[in-house]
């Protein structure tokens, strides 16, 4: 089992969701987060006062999938979240040790 974590641009969330549903993903978790990478932040000006905004709003998606599906899921995110501009985000994949469905007690791949 793998956990795919993707940091994407907020306005891409629906496109990414549609793409993941299309490759058979049944559930995901999305949260509003702030962060920056090479894009750095941006500058905001209020009546002449300039503020450097280092942390930009992003969406973090988490999807748990059977190991053999990781490639398709990652490809789906890349295709749907890409704009070609800086700040498109990143994808991290890690291994999941255990998974449990709380309602039924099913474990591991059955729980995904």
């Amino acid at each position: 089992m793998k956990l795919v974590i993707a940091i994407i641009k907020p306005f891409k969330l629906e496109e990414v969701r549609d793409a993941l549903v299309a490759v058979g993903v049944q559930g995901m978790t999305a949260s509003e987060v702030k962060g920056y990478g090479r894009q750095k932040g941006h500058t905001e000006i209020y009546r002449g006062a300039e503020y450097a905004v280092n942390f930009l709003p992003k969406i973090r998606i988490e999807v748990a999938v059977p190991s053999e599906r990781v490639g398709a899921v990652v490809d789906a995110i890349i295709t749907s979240a890409k704009t070609g501009q800086i700040g498109d985000g990143k994808i991290f994949v890690t291994t999941i040790d255990e998974a449990v469905r709380i309602r039924t007690g099913e474990t591991d791949v059955d729980a995904l």
């Binding site: 905001e44 000006i45 209020y46 009546r47 002449g48 006062a49 503020y51």
Partner: protein, 449 residues
């Protein structure tokens, strides 16, 4: 409001009203005034002035409360609203108790009288000599709404750091010792009125007065922790946009109502006011677009308020096209004050009370002396009306300058003294830890989630 002379507004209503007012002025007892005036109350004037009173009150709650709270950080939103709200309640009671009487009852050079303390002489038929066609209580309430917003305006300069308790003391003291005398001098028959100052709806009394007080308060209370280094970006400018809209609409009652009647002069004031707001908003927007690359929403709304504040003293004295010119000048001058002067001078006026209202109020008061069109203020009592520099009356500009200097010095000095006295009794600002945590939680025990 016909404010350049005690009798001018009366004369507009014709000889009947004139004789009433003269009799009223001659009479020493307000009771006699009330009886003489019975039956002269005009339904149209009264209806408009009741409406205008509501519009001006709406400017503070919720107009100014939203305008201000949208520009502070999330942790100080409620505290900023609390200042406007508490100011409304506190200043209204003080106005009822003593403020109205000292401002508008009696025509001493320096101050009114104590004859109307707690409005105890109010009768069904009572009128003020300043507005003889509407019930005195309508005039009282209308002026009350002006007093409220003037004090509430000052709060913007010390937002994010002033203790709520200290602010309440300041609001009460400032209303009595600064606002009331200035209102009397300019509008209540005091020495500036006698000198011939033109201030239709509050360039000196409201905007310059609050602006200078804001500047002094910003210096005395000190800069916010993290000023110049931390990110002070506004929490929610959409609230400020809504607040500006309420201010703008309310301003039609603020300036239009200052004609103190439902008449053509109110229409001229409303036309000039609205056009100045539009011109101010666009001027600021284009200047910012040109110099900073983007036309910000905060810039547009600030420009509109600058135009509104600046046209205020001139509104009943100028033609519509002059309102546009004054609005353009307002947008440019206030833009300069907020984006250059403030940074150069290094004071931390949180919400630019001085840059917008102080600079705008002074500019507008002086421009009134330039643009005043005599025919708009002409009446049977003074058939010549009040002419400005463009009509060949250079002296008017000097009178305006005199008024600006007097209000600047009085408001500046008294604000300083008042704050120092309060600081002797209790701290003016919250502790650094509380400032970092936010005033909502530390001053009021509440917070936005």
């Amino acid at each position: 409001m016909k404010r350049e002379s005690l009798y001018g507004r009366v004369a507009i209503r014709g000889a009947g009203a004139l004789s009433v007012a003269c009799a009223a002025l001659a009479a020493s007892a307000p009771q006699a005034l009330a009886q003489e005036a019975a039956g002269r109350i005009d339904a149209g004037d009264t209806a408009w002035m009741i409406s205008a009173t509501g519009l001006v009150l709406m400017m503070t709650i919720p107009g100014l409360a939203l305008f201000y709270c949208g520009m502070v950080r999330k942790k100080n939103v409620l505290a900023t609203m609390a200042q406007s709200f508490a100011c409304t309640a506190l200043c209204s009671l003080l106005w009822f108790a003593i403020g109205y009487s000292l401002s508008f009852v009696g025509d001493g050079a320096a101050l009114g009288t104590l004859q109307q303390l707690f409005l105890h002489r109010s009768t069904m038929a009572a009128v003020s000599p300043f507005a003889p066609t509407i019930p005195e209580l309508v005039f009282m309430a209308y002026q009350m709404a002006f007093a409220i917003i003037t004090v509430a305006l000052v709060a913007g300069s010390v937002a994010d750091r002033m203790r709520f308790s200290a602010f309440l003391w300041f609001a009460a003291g400032w209303l009595i010792f600064v606002y009331v005398p200035v209102a009397h001098w300019v509008w209540g028959g005091g020495f500036l009125a006698r000198a011939g100052i033109l201030d239709f709806a509050g360039g000196t009394v409201v905007h310059l007065n609050a602006g200078i007080a804001g500047l002094v308060a910003a210096y005395v209370v000190g800069k916010r922790h993290g000023y110049g280094t931390d990110n002070f970006a506004p929490y929610d400018l959409s609230l400020a946009v809504i607040g500006t809209g309420l201010l703008w609409v309310g301003w039609l009652g603020f300036n239009g109502g200052s004609a103190l009647g439902a008449n053509a002069r109110a229409a001229f004031a409303i036309a000039a006011t609205h056009l100045a707001a539009c011109a101010g908003a666009l001027t600021w927007m284009f200047l910012e677009w040109w110099t900073r690359g983007k036309p910000s929403v905060l810039g547009m709304i600030t420009g509109a308020v600058a135009g509104l504040g600046t046209i205020t003293p001139a509104s009943g004295f100028v033609l519509p096209w002059q309102g546009v010119v004054i609005g353009v000048i307002a947008g440019a001058v206030c833009f300069w004050a907020c984006t250059w002067l403030k940074l150069k001078a290094g004071y931390d006026d949180s919400l630019d009370v001085f840059g917008v209202h102080g600079v705008g109020g002074a500019t507008g008061t002086l421009l009134t002396g330039v643009f005043a069109v005599a025919v708009l203020s002409a009446n049977p009592e003074s058939p010549a009306g009040a002419a400005g520099l463009l009509e060949g009356n250079a002296r008017q500009l000097l009178i305006q300058l005199y008024g600006v200097v007097v209000v600047l010095v009085w408001s500046g000095v008294l604000t300083y003294v008042l704050l120092k006295v309060i600081a002797f009794l209790l701290p003016l600002r919250v502790t650094r830890q509380h400032e970092i945590e936010g005033l909502d939680l530390t001053q009021h025990g509440e917070a936005l989630q």
